[in-house]
Symmetry: C2
Subunit: 409 residues, 2 copies
């Protein structure tokens, strides 16, 4: 008998009507003979309601107490979903993170799972019950309530699937799978039947909000096949797993992009060892995360150094960089927050030359100027003026035949 | 250093503003040097919101899951109150019923407390922290969440006070104490400085909704002094404790009344042994609780048998009694749901004759007909036509000088 972990996000359980619909979905899966463990998020809106209450009292709520507060959101959903299952005659039992001992470290608001005690769950499954577990939350060794941070329910689902050695972890959401690119930008975007963990990580880190990075990392680490699918429409969704040797690998799986970045350059920096640290140290000290970093070869003893940050951090980073510029005796600082990062992602590119040149050719054909380039084993990213976003995505989608199924690519 | 358990009900924590006000109250108590454990209810309205959600899914929600759901209400309050205390610079730590191991039996929705593990609380108190505990909830030996039923937060507070050997358990509510009678009926009603557990039980069981009976029983059993006081206004409230030998005992502490009853009489019942069981057995089988029972001596081999039930059960009880009447060959059945029960309560009446006659005299003076009489060691109850309620209460209040302080009575 196959064991599946289902995860339903906030929108999927956003009302009692939708919770009943989720119960129907579980009933169908049971009729197929599956054993099911369900992980749920708080009803959409509930977490924000709780945070608003907290902030009426404390601008920066105490981290331990915030977790005690937020954990109630998922606890409400597990109880309501079990009631809906009982109403349909399905035996079901709910557990909070503390009750199934999702043991975490003590990092309130962003705790990491250390261990899961699967005894109670295994017992219930053996007695043909559906087990419903609150996502997003855990408990420390001392019995304190913790939460896992953004996307924590996905992490709970994957961790449970790993601990229970589930056949698949099904992430039910409001989209029906992972697409070659954002369908709002490229109407020809196509749902992928499958994608590798590594590709999904690159897609996720570039702003495809289908899955949180941590849960994909976790799934990859423990080799838990993940499937993203819609809780509102039928369909196979997208399977995220390791690449199989005998499957024809597409060159490119998709095109990701990110409009949330801004670019900063320090020009005419004396080219000395340790210069990168002197530039990025103060940025890191200000808790600003840096994404792309490009440094070109030096000319005349000076170099130009460019990096990107989240657009929200642009002003602050610019200020820091100006004072660094004076300290280092660099020539000047330039910045631009009207940029976009576009990336080709695909494990296939590992073994194929010419992807980059084909990409640059496609962009050149449209007269799009490339401001920065950065590459990894399975990704090529370029930074462009943001006005070119749609044009760039569509021309690349076409150039790599992404609207056709993988086999034909 | 004195240890106090504070309990704040739903109205007292009904908004973030009120929660801040509760925090102020705790700050003041700390400034007096008290060690404090706080028990809170769910914010007013929250429990009803949760029950409504449950009933959208199941007309009769699954008892286990209902407790998982309802327990979130108090969990929200403990977190918010701790935030409010932190905001005022007071170290505080919250605990759910499960976290401090308020161990209960498995009777979901109306669990009984079996044991409390006070280790964590004692540790926190030793480190000068305010400990905030979720009322109304506990946990079974298997780690399942339970709730204690109506008034459960009072029970939690009293049980904690008993387990911690607290000096007093302060029940903060929206009234400033226990009154000689309902001030809405008798404007001269006076707040009592103290009252005994036994008197309070009689008052509570007669509809004074200040405290739940179970918590008063519990406090009496473990000799925990209870104090009822207002969370909105300053004042000493009313202390509920055992009578002290050297305190001048008032004859009468108060006048309680109950408008929720209805009276049923079966007339001309053959006076045989076992007749009371034959009449009340079918009533009990229908889960109808009986309050007063009066049977007078038999005449001519038949007797009349009268009892009272909750007004909601009147129609059902009447129906049952009619079929019993036919079975037993009794003459007829009569009933009246326009009655009220008025009771004099006071430990002092134990040692004083003449209370009853003084009571009947006062009622006779106003031309009030007494339909039933029932007495206990510290209570005399009469059933009257409900139209006489206000008149009866006021004339008794005056006859026993209840508007004057105890010593003068």
């Amino acid at each position: 008998m196959a064991l599946y972990v289902h995860k339903y996000g906030g929108t999927s359980v956003g009302s009692t009507e939708r919770i009943r619909h989720v119960a129907d979905n579980i009933v169908k899966a049971r009729e197929r003979g599956d054993s099911i463990v369900v992980v749920v998020s708080a009803m959409s809106g509930e977490t924000n309601r709780l945070i608003a209450l907290a902030q009426e009292i404390q601008a920066n709520p105490d981290p331990r107490e915030l977790d005690v507060l937020l954990a109630t959101g998922e606890q409400i959903t597990i109880a309501l979903l079990c009631m809906a299952l009982h109403e349909k005659g399905v035996p079901a039992c709910s557990y909070t993170g503390g009750q199934v001992k999702i043991l975490t470290d003590r990092s309130y608001n962003k705790a990491r799972i250390l261990n899961i005690d699967t005894n109670r769950i295994a017992n219930d499954l053996a007695r043909d019950k559906v087990v419903v577990v609150a996502g997003f939350q855990g408990i420390t060794e001392d019995g304190d309530i913790t939460t896992l941070g953004r996307g924590g329910s996905d992490t709970t689902a994957v961790a449970l699937a790993a601990a229970l050695k589930a056949d698949e972890c099904l992430i039910y959401t409001d989209v029906d799978g992972v697409y070659t690119t954002d369908p709002r930008v490229e109407p020809n975007a196509r749902r992928l039947d499958r994608i590798t963990f590594e590709e999904m990580l690159e897609m996720a880190s570039l702003g495809s909000k289908v899955l949180q990075i941590r849960s994909v990392e976790f799934a990859g680490k423990y080799n838990v096949p993940l499937r993203v699918l819609s809780s509102f429409t039928e369909g196979p969704g997208t399977l995220i797993s390791y690449e199989e040797e005998n499957v024809e690998k597409p060159l490119i799986s998709g095109i990701a992009f990110n409009r949330d970045e801004a670019k900063l350059t320090i020009l005419g920096v004396p080219d000395r060892p340790g210069i990168a640290y002197k530039i990025l140290g103060p940025i890191a000290d200000a808790n600003i995360e840096v994404d792309m970093i490009v440094q070109n070869i030096a000319q005349d003893g000076t170099t130009d150094f460019t990096f990107t940050v989240h657009r929200n951090d642009y002003r602050k980073a610019l200020e820091i960089l100006r004072s660094t510029c004076a300290e280092l005796g660099a020539r000047e600082v330039a910045g631009d927050d009207k940029i976009v990062k576009v990336s080709l992602v695909g494990v296939g590119m590992r073994s194929h030359a010419g992807i980059a040149s084909k990409m640059f050719e496609a962009l050149a054909r449209e007269g799009i100027n490339i401001q920065m380039i950065s590459t990894s084993e399975i990704k090529i990213s370029v930074v462009l003026n943001e006005k070119y976003l749609e044009l760039a995505v569509r021309s690349l989608h076409e150039a790599f035949n992404l609207d056709q199924s993988s086999e034909a690519a």
